[in-house]
Symmetry: C2
Subunit: 440 residues, 2 copies
């Protein structure tokens, strides 16, 4: 947690330093606040030649009214269409020309534009991103062309059984809440959005105090700050602005129990069975990570073993947790032939009941801890993962633990912690959605 | 190209050494032949803590008779089901417990089992893979359970519009050839395969002379060779065996022109339009890489700009090349709303004709070269990509150029090279497949 002083434009601070076993520094995380409240967070990594940059904005589909459904994602697309300085072709050609990976995504609570390039090409990436973020034209002709592209993207999601199930789950659990609406909007809402609405959304939300520029790789903090200051200059006018604090909520927003189905002419039936879980900052998230590993987080998990390995009921069987500021769910997903759905659901419910009744075994706890630890360390070899980690710490958590601290939190989880969590999760009524060829 | 002497069991050779600008060694590739003709290729990389291992076998779905269609992929699944030493749970739990990524895939010309782990966990990964590859039980009960899983996997592919189009393209281009059959087989072929057939396929193909063990990351060649020798011991009995040479073919197997469609109740129509291109070892593959980049290889490509950015006709528009030993195609893919199919196809055909007539611009050549160079260097930061590169060099190419040599080949491509290739490719009759809600 940073003090008020550390939020003043002009402040720079070292957040973390990591050393290897021999005492050499392998990573340093630094943070600077620029005018407008724009934050720049960098992680200098030893031994890499790449740099990953992300511009993260604290706005997502849950900030839309029903009329604006899909506006945030529409806007994300439109930022690639040009500025007074660069056409759409010039934007994409600049990073294609250096072999960079360049893309963006919209989530329910944030939006991210990201690139991975060779270290020498970082100034170019900063420049292009700064121009897109601060000076997008949002030309009416581009709005019309991109509307067609998004309607096609929605049709593509409609052809994807897992996407259909994911959207139906959100709609069933959080009806009449922005959390329940699809991120891309609907064909109806996209058809009606006007250029003026999207442009107003841009001006309202793409403000420097809502933004974090995160860079990880072979980078120097001071140099990056100088580049960002230049590229984002049009936004950096207010010397008194402070970074927006992370989104917070007073109470947990419970998802509704119940069931829903959508009939689709697919070969498989796709199912999601979920319960309310925990929000993003809940201390029990490490216990939930271990519970998830044991229930359906990999091939050695109970569900994979019982549903796929022993009974051959489904090719795809897994579990995962979703976290939001004030809500969260734990879901089991499966895709199977329609005649096997009842058996799959019986096994899933039986396994969840068994974990609620008896908890995990010592072996499962130790394996889950190893799985989280190993996955964490393996993931952090990649500059893109490091970039996401420091950006999310700044935008969502207001807390950046060191890798050792995270490992300490994982190792501190006990069988009792996991059992208590399993009891509180798996004795709730379920939210069940089914997408498939016939009525269940 | 290695000499006959270098194929003798017991031979070790350094294939490549890479230095950075300061002259420090950043990577060393070494190769040892073990008894049985098993090859071990390692790349020691500076600055990483992970290790990626792959066991590559020179067998794929094109080695199946029609009766055996899907046997290679079925076998790949069965190797995870247990050995006399380890149950299915023990196999998956061992690598889950250290957070490793562990999986396998089957292609038309090869099969690969791969894992990514922390360096300290590499001995475990070698041990598990050696046991699976050399001593799989293939128990009849497991065959029956896994048959159900694969039938479900096939149903899942049948629900994926792009998978349906890919399979239909192969079937249309290479009818009555193993290249034209789906890798997973069909529901009919999988239902009929017997345990004896799959077991015979295992004994016939999973032989040491067909295998390459490739490891990249923080590894020591001699130590890895010792570990492999122990873990694969049951296979290493023949002191006179030699590694199998790469698959070769005397002449190019042309795909058939024509068109096919499959009516499916999807929202979108998915289309693939392809022509014959070049085989895997053709010298023109670098020119094709640049041609692909300019035609549909990224957001600055002609098709992305014309189809998506300017006209909003499709969300998804791309091109790619497939290479086999004796065949290859260049394909343009698109997913769009049914009413826009004709327009998409007109634009695609017009752009291919323009490239055949006029070639690329100097700017496109330079951008394409930068895209290939940057993508290459960025990709090689990852131990898994390095592992694939050295394995494929051994199994498929019999040639391992240094990164500098590859960059040299990319930079040597001229506008004339690309134009000549475009003319020879895009003036051929097309193979067109359409998957969508109605007859085209």
């Amino acid at each position: 947690m940073l003090t008020a002083d550390q939020q003043k434009p002009g402040t720079t601070r070292t957040l973390l330093t990591e050393k290897d076993a021999g005492g050499s520094v392998v990573s340093t995380v630094r943070r600077t606040v620029l005018p407008g409240g724009l934050r720049v967070v960098t992680e200098a990594m030893a031994g890499v030649r790449s740099a990953s940059i992300g511009v993260w904005i604290g706005v997502g589909s849950r900030d839309e009214t029903p009329t604006l459904s899909g506006a945030c994602h529409f806007l994300e697309h439109l930022l690639f269409k040009g500025t007074p300085q660069r056409s759409a072709l010039e934007i994409s050609a600049s990073l294609d020309a250096v072999g960079g990976e360049f893309n963006a995504f919209t989530a329910k609570e944030y939006t991210c534009f990201h690139a991975r390039v060779l270290d020498v090409d970082l100034p170019l990436a900063v420049d292009v991103l700064g121009d897109m973020l601060s000076s997008s034209t949002i030309h009416p002709d581009d709005v019309e062309a991109e509307r067609e592209v998004i309607l096609d993207e929605i049709a593509m999601h409609d052809d994807d059984p897992e996407d259909v199930a994911t959207n139906l789950f959100a709609e069933t659990a959080w009806p009449s809440s922005p959390l329940g609406r699809p991120i891309a909007g609907t064909a109806a809402s996209i058809s009606r959005l006007t250029r003026a609405q999207v442009h107003r959304f841009y001006r309202q939300w793409y403000r420097p105090e809502q933004m974090v520029v995160a860079v990880a790789g072979n980078v120097d903090h001071t140099t990056v700050v100088r580049q960002v200051r230049k590229a984002f200059a049009p936004l950096l006018t207010d010397r008194h602005a402070r970074p927006a604090p992370p989104r917070r909520a007073a109470r947990f927003k419970r998802g509704a129990a119940g069931s829903a189905h959508t009939t689709r002419p697919f070969e498989q039936v796709n199912v999601l069975l979920g319960v309310n879980a925990i929000n993003r900052t809940d201390e029990r998230r490490y216990a939930l990570g271990i519970l998830n590993a044991a229930v359906g987080g990999g091939p050695s998990s109970r569900l994979f073993q019982e549903v796929r390995e022993k009974r051959g009921l489904a090719y795809s069987i897994y579990s995962y947790a979703n976290h939001y500021t004030d809500a969260g769910s734990f879901c089991v997903g499966a895709g199977c032939l329609p005649g096997k759905l009842d058996d799959v659901l019986s096994v899933v419910r039986e396994e969840l009941r068994a974990v609620a009744d008896e908890g995990l075994t010592e072996e499962e706890l130790v394996r889950g801890q190893g799985q989280l630890r190993g996955g964490l360390v393996l993931g952090l070899e990649d500059s893109a993962s490091r970039m996401s980690r420091i950006a999310k710490a700044e935008l969502l958590y207001d807390d950046l633990p060191s890798i050792d601290e995270v490992i300490g939190r994982i190792d501190a989880v006990t069988l009792d912690d996991v059992h208590a969590l399993a009891r509180s999760l798996f004795r709730q009524p379920e939210t069940l959605v089914v997408v498939g060829p016939e009525q269940p």
